[in-house]
Symmetry: C2
């Protein structure tokens, strides 16, 4: 079945990485994939637009189904391959409720990172303000404090002992932060989470290739 899947992706993009981790977790290796370059604007190519009219990566086809939204792909794959690979939605109502709640809070967490990282791309020069940059950084600082608290209350993973969909969507953004120089000393609980999962098979197998060869900018060092 994995032979019937095609993923167009960009290295280091958390939404792309989520789908890659998911495919590993569900033992769906062997899918077709193609690494494209954001710098060369390949995400606006016809090849991508044919799958994803938004001209964004990931562009993911699973048989005839188009699942470009990373959360959509995760839910669909978990539902269609329930008994294959790792089960990523827990049965217990407690863990399930916590998983869903955290999973959707991740969207806010990720958005706050994106607002800082993409500021100069998104905002034309004449509209940029140091006060906005400062506010975005303060918003991320407050957000990280919240997650340090959340993780302090759980065992290992976001919804308890088991690795779930919440971790599939959260880990890539956490790794991105550390890649951008986030301080482990100032964020010890997030650092512990990061270190406990970075060698998990599904994550190691899909680690962004260009992260291995080039260092990231120190954008998050003083957050």
């Amino acid at each position: 079945m994995a032979k019937d899947m095609t993923l167009l992706w960009g290295s280091g993009s958390p939404p792309c990485w989520r789908i890659q981790i998911m495919l590993e977790e569900k033992q769906l290796q062997g899918y077709n994939h193609k690494l494209l370059s954001f710098e060369k604007m390949e995400h606006k190519s016809q090849e991508v637009l044919d799958i994803n009219p938004r001209g964004q990566l990931p562009a993911f086809k699973c048989g005839n189904h188009i699942l470009n939204e990373s959360y959509a792909a995760c839910f669909f794959l978990e539902n269609q391959y329930k008994s294959q690979g790792n089960k990523l939605i827990p049965d217990s109502p407690d863990a399930q409720a916590l998983m869903y709640q955290r999973m959707f809070e991740v969207l806010t967490f990720h958005q706050k990172i994106v607002e800082i990282v993409t500021y100069n791309f998104r905002v034309p020069e004449e509209e940029r303000h140091d006060s906005a940059v400062q506010r975005n950084r303060e918003a991320l600082t407050a957000e990280l404090k919240l997650w340090e608290g959340y993780l302090n209350k759980t065992d290992c993973c976001l919804a308890g002992k088991e690795f779930t969909l919440a971790d599939v969507v959260f880990f890539p953004s956490v790794a991105f932060l550390f890649r951008l120089g986030l301080s482990s000393e100032s964020h010890p609980v997030l650092a512990k989470y990061y270190n406990s999962l970075k060698d998990r098979a599904s994550i190691k197998a899909t680690w962004p290739p260009h992260w291995q060869s080039t260092p990231g900018p120190d954008m998050m060092k003083t957050i």
Copy 2:
């Protein structure tokens, strides 16, 4: 079981309305609820903060489970009450894939509305630019075109003939747009969708109370 649920909500907030529709669809009437005022800043009250540390509405408790994120509440309720009320995740892989994909695209659709509506609240006066306002309006115009195309290809609902979770999360944002003066002539397919669902029992029963008594501003008239 509904007696064990508490929803703190604000009138006209699409995320609050999603949970209200969901509770009706799953025949979970009789839950505790309290209407709070955004204008009076009641979403920052201790009562809300005790459930939702972000100080946002909805604040939703289902037994001991906290599900403030509207998507989290929808998924949890659907999963816990599978055989009660209407089934909102279709079995067919085709409809399911389409439902998930659209459901998560709704987040982008809704975000583009929010960026326009909250611009003056979010952005301090000295950082506001007409060019940014214009860009936000163009982004929503392009987004609406995409959804006109999507809806043109389906029967009645977002993922086909059946009302699904995708409609639970989409409808409140569509209704919000028409409340703000969106032109039916310029958006005939969205208007058809809106008109075909506005009298659905779950939607009618939860219609934002202040919308019935006061007209909305004409903010979206020229989109």
